[in-house]
């Protein structure tokens, strides 16, 4: 029982990292029907930003969480630049072109990081040291609980933002119908840019959560994490915000449970098996719905 609770907490922690990353995929997919394969690399960018800024904050005597603010800023800039420079020019050129461009941008970021930071793994200094907490007999590191709490708070805020604010409504309207959105006065390009900015900001928060739990980062971080989050987004139903959250949390829990109770080495195989099964059985995911082609 103790083991199970502990596993579930770790699963939720990993899952909320996947969920925040999956949100970036799903929001961008929702609005421009494109899988932004560079999204995972934004997390790597956030991770390196933390690696370099945390010591600076320490030296300057500033609170360490300022580093997260810097990471959000850097990720937003990288995300918006990626959209403006690479994706906007190929918009309307077909989905294959967009996909190849996204894969290309992923390689640019990954190899750019290789040039800048080298290939050796780096350990991101801890931002907070919290006591281990006993929960129903299970001992759980404080930072696991904190990152989990942050992840959940961010998701709740995002849900409210999308549901109730004017900007949030515009972000729902544009993916649904660009013609109608333009006619009511929504600047579609602006909303697309804002969506990229928010998705990239979430990536920075995901990198904060990732580095507090897993410490080590390298330039290839984005690929594996990005692919997992992509699976989570597909599992939840790509394009659905609630689906990304549920898909992410589920995938995190499943991975940890497989690691703990089954063969530890097989958890990645299980992840991709889930992807294949979802695509075969329910390609629209848990909460997604079939999109009928308009005639």
């Amino acid at each position: 029982m103790t083991k199970l609770i502990q596993s579930l907490m770790y699963g939720l922690n990993l899952g909320s990292i996947y969920a925040l990353t999956a949100l970036g995929y799903t929001m961008v997919y929702g609005i421009i029907r494109m899988i932004n394969f560079a999204h995972g690399d934004f997390i790597m960018v956030g991770g390196f930003t933390l690696f370099y800024t945390i010591p600076v904050m320490k030296n300057m005597g500033l609170p360490l969480w300022f580093a997260v603010v810097v990471a959000i800023g850097v990720c937003v800039v990288v995300g918006v630049l990626t959209e403006q420079i690479a994706y906007k020019p190929v918009r309307g050129q077909g989905s294959t072109t967009a996909l190849i461009t996204a894969l290309g941008m992923s390689l640019v970021l990954e190899n750019g990081a290789l040039v800048l930071f080298g290939s050796a793994p780096r350990n991101v200094p801890p931002m907070f040291s919290l006591p281990t907490i006993e929960l129903l007999g299970a001992s759980i590191p404080g930072q696991t609980l904190l990152t989990l709490a942050i992840g959940i708070i961010v998701m709740v805020i995002l849900s409210f933002f999308i549901k109730y604010t004017k900007l949030g409504k515009a972000m729902r309207a544009v993916p649904e119908d660009k013609v109608a959105s333009t006619l009511v006065g929504i600047n579609v390009n602006k909303i697309i840019t804002i969506t990229f900015a928010i998705g990239s900001g979430l990536a920075a928060i995901a990198s904060m959560m990732y580095t507090t739990s897993y410490v080590s980062i390298k330039n290839e971080l984005g690929i594996s994490l990005g692919l997992k989050a992509f699976v989570a987004a597909v599992l939840g139903g790509i394009g659905s915000v609630a689906g990304a959250m549920i898909g992410g949390l589920l995938l995190g829990i499943v991975e940890i449970l497989v690691k703990v109770y089954m063969l530890p080495g097989t958890y990645e195989a299980v992840t991709y098996l889930i992807l294949i099964v979802v695509l075969l059985v329910r390609p629209t995911g848990l909460l997604g719905k079939a999109v009928s082609e308009k005639v």
Binding site: A170, R172, A173, D177, V179, G185, V188
Partner: protein, 236 residues
């Protein structure tokens, strides 16, 4: 009020609109009729910036609409109810109507609420169903929602593209009486219709479009009795 002059529009090499001039005066209902593919929708799309013109002018109240950012056109008092309704199907009826007020600033909140009341009085069905997803409405209700959403922006002119498409004869009657009602409130109407008979009955003036060119124009009553029009568009 709205003046389209010498408009040319291309789709790649296809010259879809050739030297078209259309004028709509304050308070009028003007209709564009013509066969499928004649270019009626393209003209409306060009007016509201959904399609770029090759040359020509579109001026509304001294504003050059062709130079305006498409999302800004509604702020000049030009509303467009597009063909196929284009309601936001995954949003509630109420949210759809609120989206029609997207251009309002925070300080216009009272105006927005007043407009919404007006729309709900005009379309009680929408009020009853305000919390339902727009995708669950019938075709006629969706058309009313599209009109209601357009009215939220408090337009001076409303462009309507095939509002009667796919509706039962009874609902077609209803839609046309709504058009008249909207016009009687002082809103100018530019109507595109394949149902030429109904359109000519409700309109003051009409233009007949054939493969991208204006073939005929004049008073709607005259065109209704014009032999050529009767043969080609009224099936008589």
């Amino acid at each position: 009020m709205l003046k389209v002059s010498n408009l040319n529009v291309h789709y790649g090499v296809i010259h879809a609109i050739e030297d078209v001039s259309v004028e709509v005066n304050d308070g009028e209902i003007v209709t564009l009729i013509g066969a499928n593919g004649a270019g009626k929708t393209t003209i409306l799309h060009t007016i509201t910036g959904l399609k770029k013109a090759t040359s020509g002018n579109v001026v509304f109240d001294n504003v050059d609409l062709l130079k305006e950012e498409p999302s800004k056109i509604v702020t000049h008092g030009v509303a467009h109810v597009p063909e196929g309704r284009h309601v936001f199907v995954d949003m509630t009826v109420r949210e759809n109507i609120e989206m029609g007020a997207y251009m309002y600033k925070k300080k216009d909140k009272d105006k927005m609420i007043a407009k919404m009341d007006e729309v709900f009085i005009k379309f009680p069905r929408l009020k009853e169903r305000q919390n339902q997803l727009a995708g669950t409405l019938s075709g006629g209700e969706q058309q009313m929602l599209a009109v209601g959403r357009a009215l939220m922006s408090d337009p001076q002119i409303i462009l309507m593209d095939e509002p009667s498409m796919g509706l039962s004869p009874l609902l077609v009657q209803e839609i046309f009486s709504i058009i008249k009602e909207v016009n009687q409130q002082g809103i100018t109407v530019l109507l595109v219709e394949q149902n030429a008979k109904m359109a000519l009955k409700v309109a003051n003036r009409a233009y007949v479009l054939e493969t991208g060119k204006i073939k005929l124009s004049g008073d709607a009553d005259e065109l209704l009795n014009n032999d050529e029009v009767r043969k080609a568009y009224l099936g008589a």
